[in-house]
Amino acid sequence: MKGMKGPIFQIGIGLWFSLAVMAGVESRSWSAFFAPFYIGLFFVALGLASDARRSGRRPWQIAGNVLIAGCALLFVGSLMNTAERFYLVNGESYPRLLARDVGAADRATLDDLHRNQCKGELMEIYGKKDGLWVIRCGFSWVGGHTFVSDANPYGDKFGGITK
């Protein structure tokens, strides 16, 4: 790996930043800009770490190793965050450990969560086995909030639906 000096590496980073600029301008949205921008930054960090590890000075080598470890953690975390999303949508159950228990939620609970924790964000509700209901606002576990309920929050509206 040639670090930040490698032409392919630099073009790769340039492509991610270009994608960020194009997406941000075309949709007039900072969130559209930041998604690819952060991926570009991730590769910048990898390049800097690679350069630092090949430096002759010990402190730089240590800093490079720390940065590599940080990138590896971030990568694994991203994979786990993606796996969680797949499991939330497709899994039969959901680990309570990953969510805040709100007891037997009803529509008033949903309204309260929507107003306070979720700040008006879109909410999704998934029925799991054993009468467990998972409420997610935001898309991912890291970026959003996750709650579990022992009752269908829309039970009064869709009374016949238990799962």
Partner: protein, 115 residues
Amino acid sequence: MKVGRFVIDYLLVPLGMPLLTAVYAGYHASTEIEPASYATLREAWPHLHQPTRSAIASAMDSGSGKISRWQYIPLFNAALTDAGGLVMAGSEGSAQDERAKLKAVIASPAGNGRT
């Protein structure tokens, strides 16, 4: 390491590419929207609230009477919020035709587009 060398070795490509892209994106965003986008606003017009109608009328008044891609995004979002859903109306006419149709809707008494 000299500053010039550092810029060439490390910054020229990673920052030059997005800068060039920004120039192109700025140009592209300033170009006129597709005819179908005028048609979308026209179809949504009866369902829009007054602030959104005023914003569309004002965008049509500004510049050369055309709506740019940059101007269109907030108008589209506001129209979507007001109407709850939009008919993506497609168009077989030219941008000039669709502009004229939208202007007619704005100017019509029923359109009530001016404040």
